[in-house]
Symmetry: C2
Subunit: 160 residues, 2 copies
């Protein structure tokens, strides 16, 4: 059986939140590692057309992170701090440096579905519906979907 996993990306109607849900053939520990180990993270995050370089990474409560994605000679940098890093939950802030005043609060949860499957629940909270909807309209789904497909491959070949 060869199922293609589907990513659900939803805009909450009541609060300025984007919720992303995605099932993986992985344990919660593997998903945690994929999100906290900078070498693994750099290999899967973002669209296929970009290359990511992790510049700063201290995955513990109060640590900071920064990575730079390159595409066609252009660089896009992202940064934030880790608020919580627990086996079942990561909370971090997120800023695209091209818009330095914009900040999202991101929460990742790893739900064990049993049988070696884990559901990732990602939530991104901002303080305005306009900013949330602009982010959704920016084509972020492509990066999310291509990133998770790369992570699927890494999980299948034993790199995570």
């Amino acid at each position: 059986m060869n199922t293609v996993a589907e990513t659900t990306i939803e805009a909450d109607p009541k609060v300025p939140v984007i919720r992303t849900t995605r099932d993986f053939t992985a344990t919660p520990e593997q998903l945690f590692r994929a999100h906290t180990d900078p070498e693994l993270f750099a290999q899967w995050v973002g669209p296929d057309s970009t290359r990511t370089r992790v510049v700063e990474w201290d995955a513990r409560p109060g640590g900071s992170w920064r990575f730079v994605s390159s595409h066609d000679g252009q660089e896009f940098a992202f940064r934030g701090c880790f608020h919580d890093v627990r086996p079942d939950r990561i909370v971090q802030t997120f800023t695209f440096e091209g818009q330095p005043d914009g900040v999202a609060l991101e929460t990742l949860r790893f739900e064990d579905l049993g049988d070696g499957r884990t559901r990732l629940h990602a939530q991104s909270l901002v303080d305005s519906f306009a900013d949330r909807d602009a982010w959704l309209a920016s084509g972020m789904e492509t990066g999310v979907n291509e990133g998770y497909a790369k992570l699927d491959t890494m999980l299948a070949d034993g790199s995570v």
Copy 2:
């Protein structure tokens, strides 16, 4: 003239945000110092009935903070990370450790009004209206008002 400064605490009707506005006889630099120097901060934050001890404090982007407030022999701890620390703006996360899953994203802005006056704009964003309203109903105004009154005194006597 002896004016008592008023604090405005507002619940946004559209997004789960609390907005607090307060004018101070202070420069933006002084308000920045009052919020980033741990010894100054511990002296004014919170209600009159509590004593605050800063346990961890690294006021730079990606640093962490933690303080413990004592009241009648009981201790209440709070923690978070600094996302941004700029002269005109501080962005940080905030968790009361008694409710470790709750996280607020806080933004402080210091607006120079001229003539040695500065307006503090504080925004606290959470992901649910119920949590926001519970926080508002908890009597947080007392702590906010008494804290800012202590800060007024410190500004007047030259401690900041």
